[in-house]
C-alpha cells in the first residue's frame, strides 16, 4: 500500500518539477524526488542503489546546481579607467559607462561587480578549472584616439546585446577576444 502511495507521489512531484518556473524551487523538488526514488529502490530490493541515490541524488546534485546558479549571477568587470566614464566618488559608482553596464546587467538580472585594477590582463595560458579569476569584461582607454575599449570573450553570448547597446556611442568600442576559449 505504501509503495502505491510513493508511486503516486513521485508522479505528482515530477509534474511539479516540469511545471515549476522558479529554478530554486525546482532544485528542492528534485531533491525530494531523489529521496522518494531511494525509498522505491529500497522497496524493490535494491538497498545498495538506494544508499547511493540518497547520498548523490538528494545531497550532492542539488548542491552542485545551487552553487552553479549562484555563480552565474555575478558579472565581473575590471576597470582600468577612473574618469567620466566610470568613477567611484566616496564609494559610490557613477559615470555614463557605468549607467550602460548597469542597464546591460539588469536586463539579464545579473549582479554587476566593478573592480578598479590597472594591471589586469586575460590569462593566455590554458589553466583550466584552476584559473583564479573569472572576469567577464575589461574597460580600457585608448588615450591617442580618445576611445574607450571594452574587452570581452568571444565565447560569451551576452556581448551581442552589449554590442547593440553601445552602437549609438562613437567613443566606445567593443573588442571580442579569442582568449580563454579553451575553458568553455
Amino acid at each position: 500500500m505504501s509503495e502505491i502511495i510513493l508511486y503516486i507521489t513521485i508522479l505528482v512531484i515530477v509534474i511539479i518539477i516540469i511545471k515549476e518556473k522558479k529554478i530554486l524551487n525546482t532544485i528542492v523538488f528534485f531533491s525530494v524526488f531523489s529521496l522518494i526514488l531511494a525509498f522505491l529502490y529500497f522497496y524493490n530490493n535494491a538497498p545498495d542503489v538506494a544508499l547511493a541515490e540518497i547520498a548523490i541524488g538528494s545531497a550532492i546534485l542539488p548542491l552542485i546546481f545551487i552553487i552553479s546558479i549562484s555563480k552565474q549571477k555575478e558579472y565581473v568587470v575590471i576597470s582600468k579607467v577612473n574618469d567620466d566614464f566610470i568613477n567611484s566618488k566616496e564609494g559610490e559608482l557613477c559615470g555614463y559607462g557605468y549607467a550602460i553596464l548597469k542597464e546591460f546587467t539588469e536586463s539579464y538580472k545579473l549582479n554587476l561587480t566593478i573592480i578598479f585594477d590597472n594591471h589586469f590582463e586575460f590569462e593566455q595560458n590554458i589553466t583550466g578549472i584552476f584559473k583564479k579569476t573569472a572576469v567577464d569584461l575589461i574597460v580600457e582607454k585608448d588615450i591617442e584616439n580618445d576611445v574607450y575599449i571594452l574587452k570581452g570573450r568571444r565565447s560569451s553570448l551576452l556581448l551581442n546585446k552589449l554590442d547593440a547597446m553601445i552602437r549609438e556611442y562613437d567613443n566606445i568600442l567593443l573588442l571580442k577576444l579569442l582568449g580563454d576559449e579553451s575553458n568553455e
Binding site: 547511493a52 547520498a55 548523490i56 545531497a59 552542485i64
Partner: protein, 134 residues
C-alpha cells in the same frame, strides 16, 4: 559568504553522526548494503558541510590531492599482494581455505581505502568548484 548561526550549529551537531554512519556503511559493506563508494559519498557530504562553515584555505586542497594519489597507489598495491600469496592478481590475498572471518579483512581494507578515496576526491572537486572564479 556569511553563514547563519542555525546552519553552523546544526552542521556541527550532525558532523560526528554523519562520519559514524559513513564509516559504518564502509566497514560493514561486505555484510550489509553499502560499500566503499556509498560510504565515501556520505563521508564527503560530512566533510563538505564543515568546509562551508569554516573558511577555506589552499593548503587543504594540496594535502587532499596528495592523499588521493597515495590512496590510489595503496589500493593497487593491496590488490596486487595476492600475486605473492596465491599467484593471481586482483583477488583476495588470503588462501581460500581460511575461515570467512579472516578472509573478510581483505574486503574491509579495500572498501575502506576506496571510501576514503571517493570522499577525498569529491571534497576536492567541490572545493575547487566553489572557489573557481573568486
Amino acid at each position: 559568504m556569511k553563514n547563519s548561526e542555525i546552519i553552523e550549529t546544526v552542521c556541527s551537531i550532525l558532523y560526528p553522526l554523519m562520519l559514524l554512519f559513513g564509516f559504518y556503511i564502509i566497514i560493514f559493506g561486505d555484510r550489509s548494503p553499502g560499500g566503499g563508494f556509498q560510504g565515501g559519498v556520505v563521508l564527503a557530504t560530512a566533510f563538505l558541510s564543515t568546509l562551508f562553515i569554516k573558511h577555506y584555505n589552499e593548503t587543504n586542497v594540496k594535502i587532499l590531492t596528495k592523499f588521493e594519489k597515495y590512496l590510489f597507489v595503496t589500493i593497487l598495491i593491496i590488490s596486487s599482494l595476492s600475486l605473492i600469496t596465491r599467484g593471481q592478481i586482483l583477488t583476495n590475498f588470503f588462501p581460500l581455505d581460511y575461515h570467512e572471518n579472516i578472509r573478510r579483512y581483505f574486503l574491509v581494507s579495500i572498501n575502506l581505502l576506496i571510501g576514503l578515496k571517493v570522499a577525498s576526491g569529491l571534497t576536492l572537486i567541490f572545493s575547487l568548484f566553489v572557489e573557481e572564479g573568486k
